[in-house]
Amino acid sequence: MDTETIKNKIFEILEKAKGKKKLKEKDVIRIASEELNVEKDDVKKVLRDLIEEGKLCYSYTGGASSVEIPSEEYLREKGMIK
């Protein structure tokens, strides 16, 4: 499976969950690997790359961490976009 497809799937999953459910790294990996029928490790690798690039971020509420698409406002504050 090519990386682009996995990337798009991850964004699709996170867009769908936005504002409704906090997804942990594990949840994203599980859903993507089931829906695309790819190995969890492959999804994990792509997910981690997105996090490294800053396209995705870890977030934190009440002690539990999740993965989210960062807002433009946040990226601007961090100086990652103009």
């Binding site: 942990k24 790294e25 594990k26 981690r48 996090i51 490294e52 690039e53 800053g54 971020c57 870890y58 977030s59 934190y60 509420t61 009440g62 002690g63 539990a64 961490s65 989210e68 960062p70 807002s71 946040y74 504050e77 961090k78 100086g79 990652m80």
Partner: protein, 410 residues
């Protein structure tokens, strides 16, 4: 010049003989706007009895999910200096040994980018830098990491492991707490920086049962140094203590929790089979008593403060384990434990709570540690594993066989 606030309520807290956080914040506030507004905000909280902090959200450095804890002020118009007031955790060196140079470096970085306020140390063990803005985070991280520092853990991650001073300064250490702490920190880098678990997981390492890091109460995984075999007694030194007026009966014999010691006026006897290695007698008569020669550690699991359920103390899982480089056995064990917890835990459930809910049997089976008497936590709490369907089938088959042949096997 930072704004100065009137702080009559906080000023009260400078009056006692003890160290005062108000005094310290004021020192920072004289030259730092963030610290000044922090002081003003706190005074307001004291007046209104309302907290003005918002928690959490996406705040961190790129690639990491831990190490920065997001804090925002809910009334930033009134206190712009603390509109953002994020906390940065720095992974402390094993047992908190620093050179003054190292501390100066950290403080200089923090004066440049943050409020100047610090907390040495947080209860996880990390150095805590209090109060900075989102846009400063990447610069702070770059400056810290270029000087060899790394962020600590936060969120649902492995938290920065910590340990007691151990063999660096303490003769009672049964294990090299510092090296083990360092090696576990290295081993679990991914888990430390990228929170993937149901909740936090803490490792604390004490060199002996005196437990100066309170591992038994504060760590999901408490590793506590111990020994096998007999306590070494120097009877001459024992008599010396007594000769010098030490009430051995009152302070040692009567205080031994398992009542395994006796003193006949000239000789101290220990029934070592009943000693639970609590360290009490050794710490009272350092010159006379020493731990036995075969050193290792006891691994206990599950302590935590009350959140989902009440507070727990750690529970003995591995009564004795050798603690030798490269510590593969301990690393594997921690990995298995966290795997089981990750599989079974609900969000915000600590490993100790999952063991209480799912059962010790399932946990022990997964990590491959056999049930053993030392795991019994208290009298009448022993049957924490049960027969499976499979076991019952086996027993039935055995009984049928015995009935048929008339030969009974035990």
């Amino acid at each position: 010049m930072p704004k100065m606030y009137d702080t009559p309520l906080l000023d009260e807290l400078e009056k006692g003989p003890w160290p005062s956080f108000v005094k310290e914040i004021k020192k920072c506030a004289a030259k730092n706007d963030m610290a000044a507004d922090e002081l003003g905000l706190l005074e307001k909280s004291y007046k209104t009895k309302i907290g003005y902090w918002k928690h959490g959200g996406i705040v961190g450095v790129r690639g990491y999910g831990g190490g920065v804890i997001g804090r925002y002020c809910s009334i930033p118009e009134e206190f712009p200096g603390v509109a953002h007031f994020h906390t940065v955790r720095i992974n402390q060196p094993s047992a908190w040994f620093y050179t003054t140079d190292a501390l100066r470096t950290i403080c200089d970085i923090w004066d440049k980018y943050g409020s100047g306020l610090t907390n040495f140390h947080g209860s996880t063990g990390d150095m805590i830098l209090l109060g900075t803005r989102t846009e400063a985070l990447e610069d702070i991280f770059a400056e810290l990491s270029s000087r060899g520092w790394d962020l600590g853990g936060s969120g649902s991650a492995m938290r920065t492991p910590s340990c007691c001073v151990g063999p660096a300064r303490c003769e009672w250490a049964n294990i090299d707490t510092l090296e083990l702490c360092y090696q576990l920190t290295q081993e679990f880098q991914d888990e430390l920086h990228r929170p993937a678990w149901p909740y936090k997981f803490k490792i604390k390492i004490a060199g002996c049962a005196c437990d100066c890091v309170a591992a038994i109460a504060r760590a999901d995984c408490s590793i506590i140094g111990t020994w096998k075999g007999d306590i070494k007694i120097n009877q001459d030194e024992v008599r010396n203590y007594v000769k010098n007026g030490f009430d051995i009966q009152k302070w040692v014999i009567d205080m031994c929790p398992t009542e395994c010691m006796s003193w006949d006026g000239s000789t101290l006897t220990i029934d070592n089979a009943n000693c639970n290695r609590c360290m009490h007698c050794i710490s009272k008569m350092t010159k006379a008593l020493k731990p036995g020669d075969e050193k290792g550690a006891t691994i206990c699991i599950g302590s935590k403060a009350p959140i989902v359920v009440g507070a727990l103390l750690s529970w003995v899982i591995v009564p004795f384990i050798k603690v030798e480089k490269p510590y593969d056995e301990i690393k594997d064990l921690v990995r298995k434990m966290t795997e089981w917890w990750d599989e079974n835990g609900k969000p915000r459930e600590r490993i100790g709570e999952v063991i209480e809910r799912v059962g010790m049997r399932s946990f022990l089976e997964y990590i491959g540690v056999p049930p053993q008497p030392q795991q019994v936590k208290e009298p009448r709490r022993d049957p924490f594993w049960f027969f499976t369907e499979e076991d019952i089938e086996k027993i039935k088959a055995k009984e049928a066989e015995e009935k048929k042949t008339g030969v009974y096997k035990f």
